[in-house]
Structures are given as structure tokens and as C-alpha cells.
Symmetry: C2
């Protein structure tokens, strides 16, 4: 186990009707709020009205930034910062999924940054003070509601980059699983893949004897496997939605990665797909991860795949090591398929054209990962195998 | 899954040499410290000197309360509060195991309480403001380094009571596994049992479909089973010590219990033993827990024991339900025995004399638990079966 500094300061109010705690908790920070949301889904579901009612009743003034898209754009961030500065906002309230929350985080940090906010996406060290952020989550996926990271897209440069800083962790997040009842099948599936992929990035690691972390990571993976399909088939199943929602937060709030070398290479590889083709992040991950696993499997890493196969997929530990490893990868792909996810880039309209360009892009900040270090040519091989 | 409010604000600096962060983190709260510790073990190990050196070098003034005993006494708390008030202490620094930390917590809260601090042990609602608390942990066991609880003993009334309040959670804790290399075999064993018993209290629960929490609880149990004996046999095994240390914190910081009904009845039953006979908490738990399990096993609870047996002890799930359940209890007792723990009260010099009195004491605040609710007569039965 490696040394680590643990800090997970976000408070989580989890369960039915927890929105009743919203106003009191906002007021600890002030009474001028920027409400950030996406399309009309929170209006259709009634959540928007519920939020506005709570704010009004408690004399909290609010301004709005709506229309934040999946793979949130730096242009939305710029707009949000403007509104905050004009109105001396006290707190940024994100109501939505990861894109809305990520956008809110960079608005909150950008508020105190004098130049263009794309700078603080490119270089997290430029993040300093930030406005307090709160979230009401409507999608179990990115874990942004409980972590200190954000991913922003710049269409002008075809870049999709991750950034992060302790100051942009939300002060509190309201996680009411009933808000995810209306999430469509495909998004439920993509969210489940996203959660599992966050675990993969910290689970497949060179660190020996992070035994506790590994067993906890398996706990989160099993939860996704147990409830992902069920939530698709029974969208109003509270227990399925609740387990997925909490799994999403714990997958990436730091808990599973503390004390380990972590990987995050498949995410970088996928970010290129979303940046160039604007596909859903979870869909890209579902396609790429099994190919990444196949590429990463070798004599140095096979034992880790055996651990994965035996503990997560209940594969008989008496089998041959490589047999277990390959079977664990197949089971992963089969599970993603059972969620309706594609297995090949062609299925989402991605051909050979930009693969080299994307492989270079993915490695533009250096070698990816340490479990299986990847250069541009390795990334290209993975893309090609996934065609 | 039940609704819950998650807040685990304690920062943890985990690993070798993390003491280098001590002074800077203390200074965020002031420069006058009450150093609380137990017997001479931290002097023998050199940790005391290391702490003093760090304080001196950084111009942090310190006062000392030493001699805090296992099952810490309210008299130590009173003494600590006096020193704090006389010297306008800014932060209470606990260096030791759970007893030292628990004592420090009540000193910190008692500082702001005008009457006798035993009041705030008896009635947690009387806890208000508290001095900031920091800890340097030397024993993996109680989890007090990352939670908001404390257990204090009053020998005058033969009471050992648990109390708690969010304000007494440590601001930060330094967890360096090397500080536990010198923990004797018996204490390593008792600590491992203590950690496992904290998990049992939240694992055995009526709450259905807290699937994620259950799998995480099993992760902590497996970690204890994997490393407890190893740490006894190889006291300087860093990985064993590290896994146990982190398991101890995660077992009771709230993570495993959020969203569930929790039990805590075996702890109440054990507290009576320690209050009357001053035996080691973990030893009392090792004796009592298997008997509590046997008493709790019935048609309503058997499925939970099957889950435990199959997932934690790898018992074949095709076996008869009761066979699995009983086997899981036997394996628990056998594991405790393998750590050198006794199985009967007689072995630690406890006879029939005070059983009735203790059974009444354990239930003096009402029925214990909900998984298997216990009245005084039930507790007495458990004591008697354990004789």
C-alpha cells in the first residue's frame, strides 16, 4: 500500500425527499445562487419546480444557466462566470448529471481566475479559490457529485480535458434515487459502464497488497453488475437506483484509489472519441475497456486479471491463469452487451480516419498509465482492434 | 437502503513518515496543545520524542496528560479539562490507541461544558462546541481516529458508556502503520477482533438491499481475516499492519453503516464486562460475539448468516441454510481462537456472580438492537451460554 492523504469533505444527503435540506444548507454560504442545468429533463420531471419553490420560500435569489450539454463546453463555463460576476453569486447549484456538475465546478473556480477559464482546465495548478458548489444529482455515472474533478470540452481545439482541485469538491450533494427513475435505458446503461470504468482505472494497478482497497473496489463492481440491468428493466426500482447512485459516488471519490498507483489511461483514450465524435462517454468506455484489457494482459499483469475474474465474476480459481483472465474480459464485454452497449467503434460511426490523430492526442500529455504504460502507437493498436 | 446523511470530515494522513505533516496541520488551529497519551509505550518506541521534537521545532507549546488507561476513566477527562482551561489550549492531540483518543474527545467537548463532563457521556445531546482534536494512532482497533464517538468508564458507578457528536470527530489523524509494529501479539489480536466486531454490528441488520454496504463490509472482514494472524506472527509486516490500520478506520467511520439499521447490541453487552471486570474490550467481544450470533440465529435471520458464510468464509452455497449459518459462526469462533482469543467467560475469570446485574445494566437504556432485539433476560441467556 502506498502513502496517501485522505480527504473527502463533501456532505451527502442521500434518499427520498432529501431536498428538504437544500435551502438550509445553501444559506450557510449565502442567498444568491446560480442554478445550472441541462436540457428540459428537470422541468419535465418536476424537479426544477421543486428547487425553485424551495429557493423562493426561503428567500434565496437565483439566476440561471441552462442548456449545459453532455461533454460540457468551455463556452457554457464562460457564460456562467459572467452571470456570477454580474450578480455577486454566493453559491453555484448544479442540478443534473456529471456534465452540469463539471461545468459548475469550473464556473466556481473560474469566478476567481482573471484570464480565460480554459487555462484552468489545461493546467489545474492555476485553480485557486472557488465559489462553494452544491449539487442535486439526477444521473448515477460520473461521481462528480463527490469528487474534486471536472472534464470540459473545447470544440475549437477538439480537446476534452480533465482537471481538478480540492477547492472544487462540492460542499454538499443531494442524492435522491427517485430523481433517476426517469433516466432512459441507454443512459442508465452508459452510467453503469462509467461507474465500472472508474473502478477499473484504480483496480488494475501495480500496487501490491492494497488488499482492502481491492476488495472494496470489487464490492462496487459487483453492485453495478447486480443492479445495472435491473435498473434498465425496472426504471422505478428504488433499490437498484439507490445502489447504483451510491456506487457512482464511492467509485471515484478517492476511497478506492487511496494507497494505490492508479491508471486512468482508458479514460484518456475515450476522451478523444468524445471530443472528436461527441459520443456518450459511457458508450465509448464500453467499447474500449475490453480491448484495453486484452492489450494490457501479459505475464506481468495476468495475476491481477485472475483476481478480477475469480472475485468479481466467480470464475473457478482452479482454471489456467490465462483462461481465467481471458474469460474475465469476455464476461466484461458480455455484460456491457447485455446492457445494450456496442462492442465496436464502427457501430457508433467511427472509422479509421482520425485514429492516428486521436492516438497522438490521447498521449499528448505523456505516456498513459503505469499498469500497462501506453504510447501513441499502443493507443493506435487499441483503437484498431476496436474498429 | 435507508436514507442517510453522510459526513466524514476527518482528514487522514496515512503511511510512513506522515508525522512530517503534524506541525503544519496543528498550526491551522493554534499553537497551544494538550498532548494526551497512555503509559510509557510511546516513550519506549521513540514516538514521544518525535512528537515533542516536531512541536518544539515549530514553536508549538505543549502540556501533557499522561497515564490514560484502557477503558479510560472520567477522572482523566476531568484532569485534562482542567489543564486545557488553565492554559487556554487550542487543540487536543491524542497520541495512542482508542482509549487515549476517546479521552481526548471528551476533554475537548468538556472544555466548553460548564458542569461535570460525565453528563455529556451520559447524554450526548449535551455536547456542543469542542476544541479541535488531532490524533496520532498507535493501535488498529477502535476506529476512534476517524469517527465521532467515545467510550468512557466511570468506576464509581461501574458504568462504561458510549457517547458521540459530530463536533468531536478529529480534524485530522496521522496513521503510520510502523507505529503499530511494537503492538504486542495479544493487543494485535484484540484489535483485529474489535475491528471485525464493529463490522458485525452494522452487517447483521434487517435492512434489505443495502447491497453495496454489505459487500464493502465483507471487504473489511476479509481484510481482518487475511492480515490479523499475519500481523501477530510478523509484527513488522508493513502490509499487514497497513491493511489492518485502514480497515480499523473504515470499519466504524460511518461508511459501512450509512443506509442501514445498525445493531450495536453485542457492544453494549461487552461494555458491562469491561466495566465490572476491566477486561480488554476485544477479548470480551471475541468471547461474546459467537454466542450472540447463535442466539440471534432464527428463521428471520438465517439468510443474513448464509450471506455471511458464503461471502466471507467461502462456504458452499449449495449446503443447507442452517448448516451454512452454523458453520459461519463456528468459523468465526475458530478464527478468534487462532488469534489466541478465549471462548468462555470463565477463561477470563468471570463467573455467575454479576451476570444478572450486568444484563440489567446492558439494557438500562432500553431494548438492545433490532436485528435480534434483546431484553435483560436475553442478555442473561447469552452471558450464561458463554460461561
Amino acid at each position: 500500500m502506498l502513502n496517501f492523504n485522505y480527504s473527502i469533505p463533501t456532505k451527502v444527503f442521500f434518499g427520498k425527499n432529501k431536498i428538504e435540506l437544500l435551502a438550509d444548507n445553501i444559506k450557510q454560504y449565502g442567498n444568491k445562487v446560480l442554478l445550472v442545468y441541462g436540457g428540459g429533463s428537470i422541468k419535465k420531471s418536476g424537479l426544477y419546480e421543486e428547487v425553485i419553490e424551495s429557493l423562493n420560500k426561503n428567500k434565496i435569489e437565483s439566476w440561471e444557466l441552462s442548456g449545459v450539454k453532455p461533454n460540457p463546453r468551455i463556452s457554457s463555463v464562460r457564460k456562467g462566470i459572467e452571470i456570477c460576476r454580474e450578480n455577486k453569486i454566493d453559491l453555484v447549484l448544479a442540478v443534473g448529471g456529471g456534465s452540469v456538475i463539471d461545468c459548475s465546478k469550473i464556473i466556481a473556480a473560474g469566478y476567481y481566475y482573471d484570464n480565460d477559464p480554459w487555462d484552468i482546465v489545461v493546467d489545474p495548478r492555476k485553480i485557486g479559490k472557488a465559489l462553494p458548489i452544491a449539487t442535486i444529482l439526477t444521473l448515477a455515472a460520473t461521481g462528480s457529485e463527490m469528487d474534486a474533478g471536472a472534464v470540459i470540452t473545447n470544440p475549437e481545439t477538439s480537446e476534452k480535458l480533465g482537471t481538478g482541485h480540492p477547492n472544487i469538491a462540492p460542499k454538499f450533494s443531494i442524492l435522491d434515487p427517485t430523481y433517476t427513475f426517469t433516466v432512459p435505458k441507454e443512459q442508465t446503461a452508459a452510467g453503469t459502464v462509467d461507474i465500472m470504468s472508474h473502478v477499473f482505472e484504480v483496480y488494475f494497478s501495480n500496487t501490491k497488497e492494497a488488499y482492502l482497497q481491492n476488495r472494496m473496489a470489487e464490492a462496487v463492481l459487483k453492485t453495478c453488475i447486480n443492479y445495472g440491468k435491473r435498473a434498465m428493466d425496472e426504471p422505478n426500482d428504488y433499490e437498484a437506483r439507490a445502489n447504483l447512485m451510491w456506487a457512482g459516488s464511492l467509485a471515484i471519490n478517492g476511497l478506492l484509489g487511496y494507497g494505490k498507483e492508479t491508471e486512468w489511461s482508458a479514460h484518456e483514450i475515450e476522451h478523444e472519441l468524445s471530443a472528436y465524435y461527441d459520443i456518450t462517454h459511457g458508450v465509448g468506455l464500453a467499447i474500449l475497456f475490453p480491448y484495453w484489457m486484452e492489450y494490457a494482459l501479459n505475464d506481468d499483469t495476468v495475476d491481477k486479471f485472475v483476481e478480477y475474474g475469480v472475485n468479481v465474476w466467480d470464475i473457478d480459481s482452479d482454471n489456467d491463469k490465462y483462461e481465467i483472465a481471458k474469460s474475465s474480459i469476455n464476461k466484461t464485454r458480455e455484460y456491457f452487451n447485455s446492457l445494450g452497449m456496442p462492442s465496436r467503434l464502427e457501430e457508433v460511426g467511427i472509422g479509421e480516419e482520425k485514429l492516428e490523430q486521436m492516438a497522438k492526442g490521447a498521449t499528448s500529455r505523456g505516456t498513459l498509465g503505469r499498469f500497462k504504460p501506453l504510447e501513441a502507437e499502443d493507443v493506435l493498436s487499441i483503437y484498431k482492434s476496436a474498429l
